[in-house]
Symmetry: D2
Subunit: 368 residues, 4 copies
Amino acid sequence: MARNSIGKEFAVTSFGESHGKCVGVVIDGCPAGLPLSEKDIQAELDRRIPAQPKIVSGRIEKDKVEILSGVFNGFTTGAPIAMLVANKEADSSDYEAIKDLPRPGHADYPAREKYGGFNDYRGGGRFSGRVTVVLMMAGAVAKKLLSAFDVDVLAYTKAVGKVKMGKSLSPEEIRERRYETAVRCPDSACAEAMEAAIVKARKDGDSLGGIIECIALNVPVGVGEPLFDALDADIAKILLAVPAVKGVEFGAGFKAAELKGSENNDAYRMRQGKVVTLTNNAGGILGGLSSGMPIIVRVAVKPTPSITKEQRTINLRNMEDATIAVKGRHDPCVLPKAVPVVEAALATVLADHMIRAGLISKVLREKK
Amino acid sequence: MARNSIGKEFAVTSFGESHGKCVGVVIDGCPAGLPLSEKDIQAELDRRIPAQPKIVSGRIEKDKVEILSGVFNGFTTGAPIAMLVANKEADSSDYEAIKDLPRPGHADYPAREKYGGFNDYRGGGRFSGRVTVVLMMAGAVAKKLLSAFDVDVLAYTKAVGKVKMGKSLSPEEIRERRYETAVRCPDSACAEAMEAAIVKARKDGDSLGGIIECIALNVPVGVGEPLFDALDADIAKILLAVPAVKGVEFGAGFKAAELKGSENNDAYRMRQGKVVTLTNNAGGILGGLSSGMPIIVRVAVKPTPSITKEQRTINLRNMEDATIAVKGRHDPCVLPKAVPVVEAALATVLADHMIRAGLISKVLREKK
Amino acid sequence: MARNSIGKEFAVTSFGESHGKCVGVVIDGCPAGLPLSEKDIQAELDRRIPAQPKIVSGRIEKDKVEILSGVFNGFTTGAPIAMLVANKEADSSDYEAIKDLPRPGHADYPAREKYGGFNDYRGGGRFSGRVTVVLMMAGAVAKKLLSAFDVDVLAYTKAVGKVKMGKSLSPEEIRERRYETAVRCPDSACAEAMEAAIVKARKDGDSLGGIIECIALNVPVGVGEPLFDALDADIAKILLAVPAVKGVEFGAGFKAAELKGSENNDAYRMRQGKVVTLTNNAGGILGGLSSGMPIIVRVAVKPTPSITKEQRTINLRNMEDATIAVKGRHDPCVLPKAVPVVEAALATVLADHMIRAGLISKVLREKK
Amino acid sequence: MARNSIGKEFAVTSFGESHGKCVGVVIDGCPAGLPLSEKDIQAELDRRIPAQPKIVSGRIEKDKVEILSGVFNGFTTGAPIAMLVANKEADSSDYEAIKDLPRPGHADYPAREKYGGFNDYRGGGRFSGRVTVVLMMAGAVAKKLLSAFDVDVLAYTKAVGKVKMGKSLSPEEIRERRYETAVRCPDSACAEAMEAAIVKARKDGDSLGGIIECIALNVPVGVGEPLFDALDADIAKILLAVPAVKGVEFGAGFKAAELKGSENNDAYRMRQGKVVTLTNNAGGILGGLSSGMPIIVRVAVKPTPSITKEQRTINLRNMEDATIAVKGRHDPCVLPKAVPVVEAALATVLADHMIRAGLISKVLREKK
């Protein structure tokens, strides 16, 4: 059943909790012969680190990855790649006090019901944003693999609360600038407004959500396995599995629902001997298959549920109404950390599907 | 890999093409002891039939289901349930002419690339909306199964193009009225405007999309298998696998991205000894688990890509620019047919996950 | 969970019962571009037909295959291939009488317990040897696919009861002669003794089992996916899923347990520029990977449990001791029918694993 | 695809190599509420430790398990349980010398071909018997889980080379005595002869194989998921995935092929109000379902391929004939270590299938 695994060729299994010993991953199916070191993974992990402490949580962990298996003499071997990141700074003291008070917007209540109270509730345990580190590790390998086939995956913050990036930037501009701002928005003017909004929310004991857009360039045509393993279906699945994501749309997305067919259809043309579409309302996916155009997907991220403002809840010990004010160090907006996670998630799906489509071979280069 | 299968306990395998002999399904994992007959399936299939011919395609098939296996003496046996619906009215003549001209907005081009030209291109073949009949059959069994556990799944049209249903109706009203209008919108005044818009689009040789909302009532708390088989992740996956769906959102969805945490969090309260939330911005899912509140999901459906207006395309035989006007009988708006499909898709995921959660047993009642 | 599915790339889903409407199969993942027609399947099905009625059951069905999907213009399309064979000659009258009397050696009793009595008990229902027709259909496609890569799969009867084939024949001799005798043994003298033994068993109201050996030639080196999807592991799994098989061994098999390492190890040598081993005690599989030598596997088939001799059983209605004499038309020895089934089963696993190893591409030849 | 994962509810993912940092496992799907500590795992691991150094390898590792996740306050949480054992005593020096000389009977040659030479060849890497430690860890959890449902799994050595245990012992005797002898044979006189044979083989620079029998008691009737996930099919799969296993048989096994139906069928009788069979030639499995009788399975283990005697091989660098004498510390007979591994493997499958059958719930006891 593998509820904590995803992917069929590039299969990722996740383990670990927020306040346990570590978070970890096993990647089964990465082709042999990919140059890989802890540095490759570490570079991606470092992207989750707050560029500007004021807009993120006080819990600043310098996550350090350790590769446990599957790499030999600097190359992947074809055997499972296990990696982990130790949890260092977890402070569980705040959680005992609110053990019986489910935090609104968190999984506390349904998790307790599902697991009969045996779940590790500290910091949300298995349901914490902390587990996205697993996707970061998997995504780092996926990105390295994809880059060998010229596929590039770029995510960035498109909106924070009501502050929306209006400007349209080229992929090159996005690639260069998105990690220059603390909010991971490549439009610096807009980024400033976003930061200000986050700082204000934090001061108010409140939080903000937003929208992340992710683009994949150079994905060959025909990637995806309809019916049910359609490329957009599998992308949607992994993105909705990222904590706080409440919606996903491709290309024109929800806007497409308002368009006429003649407006929404992307016309084909030949350009330099290559098939292209003049618009990309499809977001690069038709009938669950990549069309050869850039893949464009957006996710809606809800505001961080942990806020210091008092909220109404219940006490599960006596089943009575209660109130809660969530203490601890919480990001007033998770988008800065979520941007590389979305990128990693999309890369993971693309790596899996390019292998499935036979576009990435099982051994990257012959050595023997 | 099972790219044409979905679900882990209630596992659905799909086969068939638009203009082949039939479309069919195998359901593996339906518990033994569920009363089931062809009538149950037929009743659901009949819901796809156009209530009003003017707003749908000329291809009016009275789909007739045949159960091939897995049912004995009126009950499911625990063995795989295979079912099929023969294709009767398929007219393939229009397709030979446009074989080399990929229709904009359709999967023609990437499918041809992926399958080396061996794919059945007639009517979109495996990529046709016709294959949603498979989900209808699976969903019919799933709904019968869920109803034995009081779970009810209700979809309806919320918007057609720019005509949006503003009124908020109760689940009871939705249940009763949604199939009373041709567009499957429970608000009759709004339904009229939607129909008018569709009729106009058809007259213009154009098409419309829209938004479908689906609600599931009485889903117990704790359904879903995080991390990756989160309930919302699996719902998103199956819905994106439905042709023409370009986005999916839960509860407040993309709106949540604009809210503050204090606005978006759903406060808990005790009501008649039961845990409830005062709002349902989460759409009944927290951390990938059902919360006990109604599950609310919306999908964006793009306008039908087949339009009679002339469109720009390419000729894949000589790789030159070309134009196309899609003939044949096509729905100017697929929402009326898509509403029961969305309902079936959600039911299929819920049946699977309720079995997975141990909430539906492997034998429904003891007989021996 | 897909309990009725097997294979990860060449994924086979089975449905149907002994006395239901049909037995059928869906193959998901057969590459596009394989020439395929009903004739290919029919030729394999015909191999199950008794060459000599006296040694098999009275139920002589001329099974007729129908391809429902996945084939277009004479080639596979890459879409799921559904096929079925109608059940024509099923006579269920004998089964009502013994409904409550589990037949020794059959699955009647555990099946009734597992499915709460809802299982289709007629002729063993889902547990009947009849369902091996599904493997025959899948195997026919697999063999066609493998033959395009020069892989040949050959099964034959090696022992019936205590009559054992001593002679060692070449693969060529086996290929030519095995279907010349009614018992599917390529050594005609031995075949005669086997037939005589079967005829005697039938006269005694008794039955016989035996041993089937299956050889696969020209399997490239490196096929198999250790650890758990080791080639021998997956072969063993599918063979044990064939009714009446109680054991499986590779190469020297159980004999290897008595040998010394120096006797059992297969020495490597270069022969005509190719790596070979001088012996093949490994049966062509090392560490779960094909070694490049012929794959050799043997299965132990138990004697048909349906015998007319009176046997002790219980009555499940009143839970008291009882006796039973199984009527109906039953093969006194299933080996003649089981030989092509074992061949089909091995071919199915090899097709799956050669695709998995990247040795068979997703599109067999470019057409477009 | 999860080639390094097995099980659908109790899903085991394996990682690690013989001479890498560690061997590890992730168990996904262990029910919440099972008391579990490192002690439970350690006790099983210790069973692999040589009781008598002279009959096993010089590499005596005191394997020490570390639980990384999935256990909280002494109970399983329902989240994935990750565990690892560090590799301490690996000495890789011997392997550089023979890097290009595939050891007969090992996976060296096919592994190098499959992975393009990128595989970790030290000590067999991923193909080493060392990876059975993973099964030991998974099996330890499975056994703890099964014991809560009174299911007991007992393996023991039945033959070493030509020394066979003739005596028939009761399960109670087996349970008590099997770990009293160095060879894990509960018949002490026979064990002495086995040890002597092993000591002689070692002195001769040779090795021995043998037969292990494993019994599972108190498995409820109806466990197993036919067709393809038949209980015996899944047991065979996991056992063939254990290095050195070349055959598997159930109950009468290959002997059944020689019996008549009237001899092999197990007659049903009522005994103390319970359904039993008077014999157990079926080995407790009928039609892929447990019958309620003890499950009996035997595996053939080949002699250790690593022997100090000179053997013929080839040099893969220049593709010429060569010779090899395998140095390093190798067990002259792996059965003493393999006995607990077989036990662990069977327990793992049974845990998986009892959950699948709905006989073990998702939360073991209510706590909240």
